[in-house]
């Protein structure tokens, strides 16, 4: 009963937020983006124990795939990128939304396929090698794309502007992100309760034993990462339309921005919990915006310090801390020896 009330209130808040704070429409959409990438990072990082530093690869690839699909529906991509935002390339309503729908879907599917291929190579790497390997994939992709003139090289691509009223566009993008975020949350909530979720946790706890018990670990790892990549790819595609113009190194494959933020969000909120990434993303985003406004110039130093402090001193995260302090809120009981066990 309590839970139903809580969820309803949160949904209503999410639905009316852009109308209550119209000046922060884009900010709130970005907040949903952070929640999306944090949730999907936790799918492999928190639940499966494979800490990827390269999930940003799917974000950037999603952007590019969506842009290429949208443009190629109407024009020749090489001509379009040659004009670099100039020229007379017009998109009608139908072309714009068809491009967005098809582009997002293509981005998600393409990223999922990429995840399977990259995962096939990198999932043999355990622990920190996996993190460094995936970081390498993301950095290499950014560098290669910035040398690829067909997609605009280092200049990036300018997509068409939202064909209606711009304020309306902000709200549309907010609800696209919010819908995707809520969808992912519900999907993960269901997934973590299934046998698949248990298998992922088994891989996190002891991969060799999981394999010994007959789990085909590589198949589980690839499927989990492909799911994360699918959602991040779609989020990247929506971002591409929201940002209008993007370029490879700072926007699409922004390894040290969003690529590391998503990990910090999860650690701050609590790794391996369903709500942790959401809470962490909200806290982190607020912290980030406050430092951006009040410590201009030093914001990056403050963020670096937040990363270090979170990782070194507060790794259980907010949800982990709450679970330790108030286990009864989570339906957990503490027995006398101090062990935490799930109650019936």
């Amino acid at each position: 009963m309590n839970k139903t009330v809580l969820y309803t209130v949160l949904l209503i808040v999410a639905a009316i937020a852009p109308f209550l704070f119209p000046a922060y429409g884009t900010q709130l959409a970005t907040l949903w983006l952070m929640i999306i990438v944090a949730l999907t990072w936790d799918l492999t990082g928190g639940q499966m124990g494979y800490n990827s530093l390269g999930n940003i690869f799917f974000y950037g690839t999603g952007m590019y795939v969506a842009a290429i699909v949208t443009i190629s529906l109407v024009y020749n991509v090489a001509d379009y990128t040659d004009a670099a935002g100039g020229g007379t390339f017009k998109f009608t309503w139908a072309q714009y939304f068809a491009g967005m729908a098809l582009g997002s879907l293509a981005a998600g599917l393409f990223c999922a396929v990429c995840a399977v291929i990259i995962g096939f190579i990198t999932f043999g790497l355990r622990g920190p090698y996996f993190a460094i390997g995936t970081l390498g994939v993301a950095i290499a992709a950014g560098e290669l794309v910035s040398n690829w003139d067909w997609v605009g090289g280092g200049q990036g691509i300018a997509l068409p502007v939202y064909p209606g009223d711009l304020d309306q566009g902000k709200i549309v993008f907010y609800f696209l992100f919010a819908g995707l975020g809520i969808g992912i949350f519900l999907f993960l909530k269901w997934l973590y309760g299934t046998r698949f979720g248990l298998a992922m946790n088994a891989i996190r706890d002891d991969e060799d034993k999981a394999e010994g018990m007959g789990l085909h670990t590589l198949r589980y790892k690839l499927t989990a990462w492909a799911m994360a990549a699918f959602f991040v790819g779609i989020a990247g595609a929506i971002s591409a339309f929201q940002l209008i113009h993007f370029e490879p190194l700072e926007t699409a494959y922004q390894t040290i921005n969003l690529g590391i933020f998503m990990v910090v969000c999860v650690l701050l909120g609590g790794k391996g919990t369903l709500w942790g990434p959401v809470v962490g993303a909200i806290v982190f985003h607020v912290f980030k915006e406050v430092t951006w406004n009040y410590f201009l110039g030093w914001q990056w130093v403050a963020l670096g310090a937040l990363i270090v402090i979170t990782v070194v001193y507060f790794q259980e995260g907010l949800m982990g801390w709450l679970m330790r302090m108030r286990p009864e809120w989570f339906g957990l009981t503490v027995d006398e020896s101090g062990k935490v066990e799930a109650a019936e």
Binding site: N51, L53, I121, T122, G124, L125, G127, P128, Y129, A131, I132, G133, G136, V137, I139, A140, E143, L144, S146, N147, I256, I260, V263, L267, G297, W298, W300, V301, L303, G304, A305, L306, I307, V308, V311, V312, Y313, Q315
Partner: protein, 303 residues
């Protein structure tokens, strides 16, 4: 694509070009090897993977560059950067690293990544985001009718790098502290039982690593370019070298460093200078894949 084949063809048509590329690669590879040796030291002794390695290099470079701007002779920047980075390394060890030793490896990776972001940004705020270098007033030697140019400044840089490496190796082999470091790397628990203050050894090792990187950076600013955000590429190169060579394999680290330097120069020649960073990173993936294939073979034997 035609351009790539043209560039490859040029290598065969004018063999002298190879000499130039190899020399350039060896000279820059010597500096990569220096930073990689520091990483191997920290990795081997305290099992911490330091992603801030490249930012130590950049910090050393900026210290030397700043001092040269103040009128000091550029070569003096190398020992000063060594000392200053020693101090910075010690502070970072006390604040961050000492608390991640013994934790799981992703923790140290992420914590040092945070340190790397902070250092790059502080350098950016202090010195701006332009690329910088120090010009040394020395002649350039020419060989093969002027096809191959070797600036004496670069030669001095390589000699200083070699001298620093030799000094560190001699120190590790002969001094009491060097013995303690090697003992701790072999078995920290036994070292503690034998009366070695391992915490002190860890602090010393990390400071030494930062100091080596700082000196390497002070040399790099004389022979190449520095920029606050180039650090991550140096970190990745160090990882490539250490992963390829293996821990505790000093000749391997030097060989791998020189090899990576050469491969990068060849790659930059064939594909164009814009691909230099990408090549460094792709080499990492290549090395990881080769390691993986080797491990697979081991696993098959176990079946």
């Amino acid at each position: 694509m035609d351009q790539v084949f043209g560039n490859i063809g040029m290598l065969f048509e004018f063999p002298v070009v190879n000499v130039k590329i190899i020399l350039d690669g060896l000279m820059i590879g010597a500096l990569f090897a220096l930073a990689a040796y520091g990483l191997a030291l920290v990795w081997g002794v305290m099992n911490v993977k330091n992603l801030a390695q490249g930012d130590f290099v950049m910090a050393g470079g900026y210290i030397a560059w700043w001092l040269t701007g103040k009128g000091l002779p550029p070569l003096l920047g190398v020992p000063i950067a060594f000392v200053m980075l020693w101090g910075i390394g010690w502070i970072i060890y006390k604040l961050v690293i000492s608390r991640v030793i013994g934790r799981d490896l992703f923790t140290s990776l992420l914590a040092t990544f945070g340190v790397a972001i902070m250092m790059a940004q502080i350098l950016n705020l202090l010195f701006g985001s332009d690329t910088q270098s120090v010009k040394l007033e020395y002649e350039t030697l020419y060989f093969f009718d002027g096809f191959v140019d070797v600036p004496i400044a670069k030669l001095i840089g390589v000699i200083m790098a070699a001298g620093l490496a030799a000094g560190v190796i001699y120190f590790m082999k002969t001094s009491r502290m060097g013995q303690a470091i090697r003992a701790t790397a072999q078995n920290p628990r036994a070292a503690r039982v034998m009366g070695i203050d391992t915490d002190k050894v860890y602090g010393f090792t990390f400071s030494l690593n930062a100091a080596i990187c700082g000196a390497a950076g002070a040399i790099i600013v004389m022979v190449w370019l520095i920029q606050p955000f180039y650090g991550i590429t140096y970190s990745i190169r160090s990882f490539v070298i250490v992963t390829a060579a293996g821990l505790g394999n000093l000749p391997g680290v030097i060989a791998a460093g020189l090899g990576i330097g050469m491969l990068e120069q060849y790659g930059a020649h064939v594909f164009g200078i814009g691909y230099q960073q990408a090549i460094a990173v792709l080499l990492l993936l290549l090395v990881l894949m080769v390691r993986l294939a080797q491990q697979r073979r081991v696993r098959q034997v176990l079946k």
